[in-house]
Amino acid sequence: MNVAAFNSANLNSGQKVAVKYFAVAMILFLAQCLFGLLAGLQFIMPDFLYNILDFNVNRMVHINAMVVWMLYGFIGSVYWLVEEESGTELVGAKLANLNFWILTIAVAIVVVVYLFVQTGPGTKETLWLINEGREYIEAPRWADIGIVVCVLIFFYNVAATFMKGKWSGISGVLVLDLVALAGLYLAGMFYTTNISVDQYWWWWVIHLWVEATWEVLVGCIMAWGLMKTLGARRKIVTTWLYIEVALMFGSGILGLGHHYFWIGTPEYWLSIGGFFSALEPIPLVAMVVHAVYDSGRHNFRNSNHPALAWLIAHAFGNFFGAGVWGFMHTLPQINLYTHGTQWSASHGHLAFFGAYATIIIAMIYIAVQKWRGDVWMSADLPDNGWKWKWSLGLLNLGVVGMTVALLISGYEQSFVERALGGSTWAAYFSAQATPWFMQGMHWRMLFGVMTMIGVVLLLWDLVTIGKGETRPAIDPTIAAATA
């Protein structure tokens, strides 16, 4: 067997599809950061690309590339584990492949239209063909429908495979969660003039994705990943998964109310949203305990060092980004001052990166290892594994640095604009123009560049790690037995 190169003969048919999704995900991650840098630069140099590639376009591409690459990462992860977990072959390998290409072409068309058509007249046709103009789910309606069809095909493929093979606790949670995740997208697929009703349903998609269904999905991936890299016992990870589902849905579903404080919705949301969202950090603490406890329990002896490092980065990133940074502004008394300021951007960066980017990267390291022929990826890598270590460091430091910079700007903004200034346009601009605010914007760029270097290094590592490696991987179940 040729272990010097990627060799698809090492993969089962679900995994062959998975690596395609992973490849596109990583390309979009690069694109995401590129457009983030353009948008960030416009805070410092407002004339940069003015009337050519304006802030709203760059930002839209930045956050849409993120949403799409994360969905690709999730789909890839599920295809990756479906055959091992179900104990049988993927029912529709050809279908999965076709589906991948259709979805990818659709994504490419959407991006080209975003960049070159940008906006249209104020008609429904624009929302169908160019851009829907609603943050995160800007994709025009034709693409929404295409996405739903593709996700249904994906869902059929996964559910039918489990049905043919065997079910487990993890796969049961996973499949039910995918139903909810796909169903929620429908809540964002209609037009209404009433902005309050619009945002009410818009948050169903955004919040109930990231603070409910996506969390549970990564919980499933984490459970599987810990078994895979550490040889953790199935019974233990499954029990933890149920605990996490109970706590996450128990707090996150009504936690939705923290977006219903100020959009016209009734006052009872101030209490309900404040209370339940304040509980949301609890499952995130549980996840850290789980991951760290399992790792320590197995003396960190594992088959894939980069993957385990990213899994641990996920546990902490999720806790800090979502749990701590989310909690900081989730009570209405505080949110009244911080709502819609750089606070939100600070939290958004650490949460999306910490909770989701990390775990997808971990899965991709697991994939690359097998793709190379299940080679050694523990200690003593060639060149001391500097690329994965540096990219891990640069990416995490870069995002944490941006988060802190934005938080400082956000503090300044909420004081000067809201607390002192009377929340008018003049107050907004006077807050934006202070040196304190602008310093934050400069530091964000610096750490943004660091993040970007981390991404480039990561991509380089992913295509080179394990090349020419001849030692076989540690078998984590044997390592666990002797630990």
Binding site: A39, Q42, T119, G122, W202, A246, F249, L254, A426, Q432
Partner: protein, 200 residues
């Protein structure tokens, strides 16, 4: 294992997961019926679109300890009183334009969106538009040529040319006027409205 305590039992937690999720989902659906009814246009918190025919004030309510919109006497937008249907059509044109031009990826609306440009929730009431008598025309001109009419207050940030037509601009202004009448529980905090003529 027979000696697994109840709190570490897979079965117990599976049941908890299912019940908690089901109960929370049911509560959310119940609250959603109530909330959507409360925010339907024409309700107390979210006025009907023909509110654009009226003067909208913004005053402090000591009982609620927050500011709230108050609907005053006749003040038709662009000097023409509209029927409820005409008003809805105009606001709809505005909302479609707001989406088609991707306003939300620079501005926030009701505090949601991007942070490159000011919040639009109470833009209609903002002192930046000078006096009540001129604001609607100023807003239309600004939207149609934001480069020439830019006021960047020392930040250098200008709104881009979005190709907004005069009709679309009027629609957007109608949409902004209507949005300013929504009761947002006092957001944005401590907002200082445009100088208001004596509330009657």
């Amino acid at each position: 294992m027979a000696d697994t305590p109840w709190w570490a039992s897979e079965d117990v937690w599976r049941k908890w997961a299912i019940w908690v999720t089901a109960i929370m989902a049911v509560v959310l659906i119940f609250l959603t019926f109530d909330s959507v009814a409360t925010i339907t246009a024409g309700s107390k918190r979210v006025p009907g679109y023909d509110v654009i025919n009226k003067r909208i004030y913004y005053t402090y309510n000591a009982e609620r300890n927050m500011q709230e919109p108050v609907i005053g006497g006749d003040a038709p937008l662009f000097g023409k009183a509209l029927s409820p249907q005409e008003a809805e059509d105009l606001v709809t044109l505005g909302k479609l334009t707001v989406q088609a031009k991707n306003c939300m990826n620079c501005h926030t609306l009701l505090g949601n969106g991007a942070y490159y440009a000011p919040d639009l929730t109470k833009a209609w009431l903002d002192p930046a538009w000078g006096a009540e008598s001129v604001r609607e025309q100023l807003m239309v001109s600004f939207l149609m040529d934001p480069t020439a009419n830019a006021r960047t207050y020392g930040t250098g940030r200008r709104m881009p040319q979005l190709g907004i037509t005069e009709d679309e601009a009027r629609g957007v202004v109608a949409f902004l006027k209507w949005m300013s009448s929504i009761d947002t529980n006092g957001f944005p905090k401590g907002f200082t409205p445009i100088r208001q003529e004596d509330a009657s």
